[in-house]
Amino acid sequence: MSATAEPHVGRPLRRKEDPRLITGRARYVDDISLPGTLWAAFVRSPEAHASIVSIDTSAATARPGIHAVLTGEDMADLAGPLPMAWAPPGVEVNNPPHWPLARGSVKHVGDPVAVVLGEDRYAVVDAAEDVIVAYEPLPVAIDPEQAIAGAPYVHPELGTNQVHSWTLAGGDLEAGFAAADVTIQRRVINHRIAGAPIEPRGVLADYRAGALTLHTSTQVPHFVRLFVALLLGLSEEKVRVIAPEVGGGFGAKLQVYGEEIVACWASRALGRPVKWIETRSENMSVTHQGRDQIATVRMGATRDGQITAYHVKILADLGAYNMLLTPLIPSLGAFVMGGCYKIGAVTTEITGVFTNKCPTDAIRGAGRPEATHMIEVMMDQMARELGIDRLDLRRRNFIPKEDFPAAVATGVIYDSGDYVASLDKLLEHVDVDAFRAEQAQLREQGIYRGIGFSTYTEICGLAPSRITGPAGVGVGAGLWESAMVRVHNTGAVTVYTGTSPHGQGLETAFAQIVADRLGVDPSVVEVIHGDTGTGPEGRGTYGSRSLANGGEAVAKATDKVVAKAAKIVAAELEAAPEDIEVSGGKFSVKGSPEKGMTLAEVAGIAYIGAVPEGMEPGLEETTFNDPENFVFPFGAHACIVDVDTATGKVNVVRYVAVDDCGNPVNPLLIAGQVHGGIAYGIGQALYEHVVYDDDGQLVTGSFVNYALPTAAELPNFELDHTITPSPSNSMGVKGVGEAGTIAATPAVTNAVIDALAPLGVDYINMPLTPMRVWRTIQEAQAR
């Protein structure tokens, strides 16, 4: 690059995706119509637990325009139940069959019992109301603590509700607690929340001439392809899965869903395309949910504030079935259970329990928000116990900068970190002394204002295969990522990525990466994703992996193209390939930029075939990137709240976030991810909660009572950053899709406790709803 041309990487380029999105030209599954399509509507269980005595489909079948009504029995030829892809070495996981359409019994409200297929979207819903299902209600297991203690059982044949138990222990816990002067214990609840993407799920399956095309709103088209093929007995290459525009996933679309299998099966059986679009009510009741952990957390420390031992026992409510990664999710938090602190002994014990609720699985952060919430709330609790300032206690225990890469007790190696720097940066924005003065003054006027902090690190960029795969953590797939970079005759570039973005802006970020390396403008770089029929095999988008893993693959594939282009240019300009550089939009010999070739000129030579002897024509390259390690973003967040102590209502008045996601590729995209992430965390802390009643009926079945925060509930987020490049990839980048969510809940919770401290409140569990906050104040006052 010439001295004058600024690199595209690092610039807040506006999103290439946005024009089509904001002008309504994007194509979601529901926008795709195929001639002859049959619509599907599911008949779902109103019972939380019941045997199916009979299903009478005659009235529904007789209605005009209805082609078929299918039940679980009709799909008896499926090769197997829905997948669960976690087989941790040495751990037994109870995994009763989970069928796309129930067989014999239903286990939670919304469990699908039958599907109606017909010519009209309205007619199938009408007909579904005419399917008569006789249920014999069975006793329900709703409360996870009661469920783990014994009957009634969700799956009576197991004789237990326990799914599994899994432990990750590092260091000598007993010695750690023995060395402690002070030990505290808290019951920490990370309640159940929903993914709630604005676009619900949708599928359009089209089986014809021995091959299947499935359009589905998913984060993982390749995984869906694999399991559709396996369950339907098709050869994988005969299945093409396309994730068109996807309107948010948040983990809820990292799944292989029964509706996908049913639509494909029905399309093959009926010889017609089959389409199903999820309603919001369905999304709230059957699309997998997240969190739902009750933990007993013990922390030991010396008087002078050295944390010596940390023990977390989690009871994870996994709902009625294991889905793709259900029992694994709490374990993802275990690897960073000790947060950004140097703690010699850290043990996490996880017990999974079945209940008659919607299954849980990955939801934004997946295990790491829970872990971060626990350690960050506990640090505040311990500071109060020891009479040490909360931030001082953190500083005393931070893993020092010199230790990186740092092996921690949980067995992973934190690739990079500078926790003091991010906290210092945060305190440049938040003057704690001034805040304390203001706080005292406001209290005199009856206003209870509090500040809370969260200094966090997380593990993301899900890869490498050797750790995540079968021999490591036990996921039945190595989590590498692929990219293919194709330079066209015109000098335009098409990038195929195995990631499957659904709102993150990766088309823009990847274009920036490619543009710099090839000396072209990002506008001529098109990024194709979410289609198993185009690029190479891929692994999808989740776990903040797409940039660190998929973007790195794009960079590597581009570098291969550059290397080949350099050879072509070297031959043309009679120079050595090592002396060719990309500068000012041209490939030229170092030191003589006036004599250069554009990418289009290089491509011309590559495709005419006038390439140096021994070289293949063409200009495209493929890479499979499998990094050495995860990446570990970190940061420090502060939240300031006002609590109306008469009503218990919490109002977030200020939120400041300092995040370190390594070298920034596009600050605008980062800000977008951090904003959304914090909103998610504030949402969980204050508003969102999936509630089932004692009978297993879903109380929060719509957005009227599942309270997603809106812009009106959120402050302007103040963002800053530090930059600590990751050594895990060549670009020094880290994921940032989950960081805000991971950091936010303890910052909010600690702020509320700080606000209410003068009223005697020293601890509270989420969700911090007005009624709960008010009750907590009443109880504290009564003590």
Partner: protein, 280 residues
């Protein structure tokens, strides 16, 4: 939105609407702004066989001062009410949901729907307002105190259309509406409407009504009695507000159990009265 099947009919006069209601039988429903009815149809919690769209009936969207009272057309959207000079109702309408809902939803629909969690019913009740209904036998006026009969039930006959809402002008009163909800766009968990007239430092008239504290909106008679004739002081207001939950029967829901709702009623009542007493 996959509703059950229904017939749709647009009418352009009150007489046509009433005739259509009569012809349509039990399952025919008027459609005004659609912001209460259509969400129910979407979930198939309501499945009217016929929708009679009155939104195009001329002359029903407007606010007029008529001597000592305000006459508000049934099709007046919340947004217009919010921007009007109608005491109390203007500040109440401004708290309804978001601009989209306020632009579409109508006062007639809000009252006819009879949801105790809606904001306008308690306000109209507080002001001793009335509604004018047209039916096959002509016009009748129903006092707000006789209008809300039970949860989502009103004194309107199935073949009657609400055409106008009347409230006294309340000159010289101060107003307060305190709505407690979790998010800006939510329905009230509890809300309290107050109108107070002060003469020579004393509360000579006090009107207080409660949203979502029973199956219908309620007047807080005990508060009114306790404050009427008392000095307009913080102490008197606080003492009176303590009685806000008397005679209520709030249903427990996700956000609030009965105890907490009663507590909220007292807190909000005090705040609403303080606002009503604040210099304009």
């Amino acid at each position: 939105m996959i509703t059950a099947e229904f017939d749709y009919q647009r009418v352009s006069s009150v007489a046509d609407a009433v005739a259509a209601l009569q012809a349509g039988g039990e399952d025919a429903k008027l459609l005004a702004g659609g912001h209460s009815l259509v969400p129910l149809m979407k979930l198939r919690l309501a499945a009217p066989s016929r929708l009679i769209d009155i939104s195009g009936v001329p002359g029903l969207a407007g606010i007029e001062r008529d001597g000592a009272q305000w006459r508000i057309g049934a099709l007046t959207p919340h947004a217009r009410l919010a921007a009007s000079d109608v005491g109390l109702l203007n500040r109440v309408a401004a708290t309804i949901a978001d601009p989209q809902v306020r632009n579409r939803g109508t006062i007639g629909g809000s009252l006819a729907h009879g949801d105790p969690a809606s904001d306008l019913p308690a306000a109209v009740l507080a002001l001793d307002g009335s509604v004018v209904a047209h039916g096959p036998d002509g016009e009748r006026t129903i006092a707000a105190s006789a209008f809300f009969s039970d949860y989502m039930e009103t004194a309107l006959a199935p073949d009657e259309m609400l055409c106008e809402v009347r409230v006294p002008a309340m000159d010289g009163y101060g107003f307060g509406y305190e709505k407690f909800h979790r998010r800006a766009e939510d329905w009230a968990v509890v809300a309290v409407a107050a109108a107070v007239k002060v003469l020579d430092g004393a509360c000579v008239d006090v009107r207080v009504a409660l949203t979502n504290m029973a199956s219908t909106p309620l007047r807080a008679g005990a508060v009114e009695a306790a404050l009427r004739g008392q000095p307009a002081t913080a102490e008197a207001v606080a003492a009176a507000a303590q009685r806000a939950a008397e005679g209520t029967d709030p249903p427990a829901d996700l956000d609030a159990d009965a105890d907490y709702k009663c507590h909220l009623a007292r807190v909000l009542c005090e705040r609403a009265l303080v606002a009503a007493l604040a210099p304009a």
